[in-house]
Subunit: 218 residues, 2 copies
DNA sequence: TAGATTGTTAATCGATTAACAATC
DNA sequence: TAGATTGTTAATCGATTAACAATC
């Protein structure tokens, strides 16, 4: 689920979700015009509370901000990137090379976020041996051995809901430490394995519930 | 962002996120064995607090549960589906037919969740006129007219970050009431338009931060 | 009847927001 | 100096959890 208990270097999960938005916003600014950036400006741009942004930045920034001027934009960008782990790359493999799996394998943006998807796995003979964006698609029985050999830490699950737990078990056996789960199911894993759920159905439910309420109000 | 303020029929956003997991779990059970299902059982299966599940179910269920036995599984399933709006279909269009856009256009599961993606739009001449899974890809200048004519309420944005705000403005102009945004940017919209963000970069940040902390502990 | 489960009311916990002194 | 912004401490708000009476 979305809400977890832990804190990361004094930053709550909710705050962690906001950081990429800060980063994106600051990066989008004209460097010449905004060599410095302040919490109130970011707050206004992203529709957030000023104090909230200030607290988030305080937790992330190394050098801190200066009264009246705010933070040096360049420094804040690199502090955010550092904090979000964009500089240290994690190796990942993906299981389930359907439409979504292919989309994730093809997406170039993950490398800038510190994730390198090495290859895909699938059970379908028809796509085994092919490659997607230069990334090889291999049969499931090679998974364990390859993950161990290359000490892969992250597994991405894009298989149908019914197969997700089985694939999850395989990944755990292969020494995976974190799972990015796109199947709309709760996965059972040992304590030391992390699961991050990306549940489109749940997201859609929030959207449609919101929409229904909103249309009612008219 | 994930957290919003509103309540939907007494259900918080956090609770709303849990409902699809309940639904999926109950559906996965053997009907013959589990004609009735109780909050404690669901809680155990999904690693949640018993009282939390009970409260969620109480808010969703029409007939309520019976002490000792729990809820009638069939009724609970249909109550959940009703509450989540899976029975009333919203029409949607998608803008940005790249890898992710294609994946979403091709995904069959959304129909069961009350979302019907009618067609895709893109600016790339090479794919305009083709179709993905039987869904036509049209040029952007047809967007406004078609959305009005078919009274489409939902727009899905799968364009690059830089173009997202511009597309968003187009959608608003086309009378869209809710936007499912896959670009990692904050969108500016009028009050009456809803935005549901699906930020993979943010999700990835949580995962990788978790992983780093977890590996440190060793 | 005994026991499991429901539904509700109260306590806890944590994130957001407000207030304010410090500082460039 | 005056004013904007920082960083911190306290107040508020809401979700989760605990406690307990009601009931099949």
């Amino acid at each position: 689920m979305r809400n977890q208990e832990k804190d990361y270097s004094g930053v709550s999960v909710q705050a962690l979700w906001r950081l990429p938005y800060y980063l994106n916003y600051i990066k989008s600014l004209d460097e010449a015009k905004y060599s410095c950036i302040s919490a109130p400006i970011i707050a206004k741009a992203l529709n957030l509370n000023e104090v909230q942004v200030r607290k988030d930045l305080a937790a992330v920034s190394n050098s801190g901000g200066k009264p009246k001027t705010g933070y040096v934009a360049k420094e804040l960008i690199s502090d955010l990137e550092e904090f979000l782990g964009y500089n240290s790359v994690d190796e990942a493999i993906l299981v389930g090379v359907g439409h979504l799996g292919k989309a994730l394998l093809s997406y170039q943006g993950f490398e800038n976020c510190g994730l390198n998807i090495l290859m895909g796995f699938d059970k379908d003979e028809a796509i085994i041996g092919t490659n997607v964006c230069g990334k090889q698609i291999l049969p499931l029985d090679k998974l364990k051995d390859l993950c161990w050999r290359m000490s892969v830490n992250v597994g991405i699950i894009t298989v149908p809901a019914k197969e997700a737990q089985m694939i999850c078990d395989m990944l755990v056996e292969a020494g995976i430490r974190a799972i990015w789960n796109f199947a709309p199911v709760h996965l059972h894993v040992p304590d030391y394995v992390l699961v991050q759920n990306e549940n489109l159905a749940a997201s859609l439910a929030v959207l449609s519930k919101n929409l229904t309420e909103s249309l009612k109000e008219k």
